[in-house]
């Protein structure tokens, strides 16, 4: 009898699917490397996941410098919000978690679930 060993990618995909089922209104979720490559993602059709992964890395990279300058310590998360939607980016160890949400979403629940997910991701990567 053999035990299937889950690859890192499988574990990450499970984390991603858990997040999506906890927050069905999300437009997309993506886990990327800190140098901008997508690892796993479920973005909507017509969204360039490669582009989002790179932009998430750029934003986090810039966020880290801003934090350093302001003496705010290790970067945990940041967001970009528009009138029609928003994205929340979470530092996740050697990766980045990007959560794309519609405008007006319940942020309390989003942060609770997403921060949990970011911690799971950090322990895997």
């Amino acid at each position: 009898m053999t035990t299937a060993v889950l690859s890192k990618q499988d574990v990450l995909r499970t984390t991603l699917m858990t997040l999506r089922s906890a927050l069905p209104e999300l437009r997309g979720v993506l886990i990327a490397t800190t140098d901008g490559l997508p690892i796993v993602q479920t973005m909507s059709e017509g969204t360039d996941a490669n582009r989002v992964a790179a932009m998430a890395a750029t934003a986090i990279g810039l966020g880290k410098r801003i934090n350093d300058t302001l003496g705010s310590g290790i970067l945990t998360e940041m967001s970009v919000s528009g009138l029609d939607g928003q994205v929340y980016l979470y530092a996740a160890g050697k990766g980045v978690l990007a959560v794309v949400a519609p405008a007006g979403m319940n942020l309390g629940l989003l942060h609770m679930e997403a921060r949990d997910a970011a911690q799971s991701i950090a322990s895997v990567l």
Binding site: T33, T34, D35, L37, A53, T58, R65
Partner: protein, 185 residues
């Protein structure tokens, strides 16, 4: 005289971050992350490098871009308002020459600003020379300069060659000399 915004671009590993860090007179804002790909080094720029330099009384603001294509949105962001471009190409990476030409084409088609090409790694024994790169790019040799990116005098020389190409620059006709007493280098 208001500061001149210059951009440094080129393929991964060309020496852009090194170039900015070597020349900057102020603490450089760098945004490096661990590279997950095999690019020959541990870190890679994911947003930009920012440094400043005063060259013969002219204040320069220098922005280094990331090199990978996936960050090409940053080439647009950083080149907005730039008055000149430095394209760096590693002289020991001929496999990147075509990519360097593509980046140059991408940027100059959107931002038709004066540029020079810097061929780095000239400290190595076996390295492609400016004349080779000039031929590859179809550029006059006057626009292609060799340098060692960790050498401040080399870096300043490359910038001076770029400044000479800017319109209405006080350097036109009377370029500052590297090593003159008024130069910080």
């Amino acid at each position: 005289m208001s500061p001149l915004k210059l951009v440094v671009s080129g393929p991964v590993g060309a020496g852009k971050t090194t170039f900015v860090q070597t020349l900057s007179e102020t603490a450089v804002v760098a945004t490096e992350a661990e590279a997950t790909e095999d690019i020959g080094k541990a870190l890679t720029t994911v947003a930009f490098d920012f440094g400043t330099l005063n060259l013969d009384g002219q204040e320069l603001h220098i922005y280094g871009t990331p090199g990978q294509d996936r960050f090409n949105f940053m080439w647009d962001v950083l080149c907005d308002g730039a008055l000149g471009l430095v394209m760096l190409v590693a002289g020991d990476r001929p496999q990147d020459f075509m990519h360097a030409r593509n980046i140059l084409e991408y940027i100059t088609s959107r931002f038709p600003i004066p540029f020079v090409v810097g061929v780095t790694r000239q400290d190595l024994d076996r390295v492609w020379k400016p004349a080779d790169i000039a031929a590859f790019f179809g550029l006059p040799l006057s626009q292609v300069v060799g340098l060692n990116a960790i050498n401040p005098a080399d870096g300043a020389n490359l910038l001076i060659r770029l400044l000479e190409r800017l319109p209405l620059s006080p350097h036109n006709g009377a370029p500052p000399r590297v090593g003159s007493t008024s130069s910080p280098l």
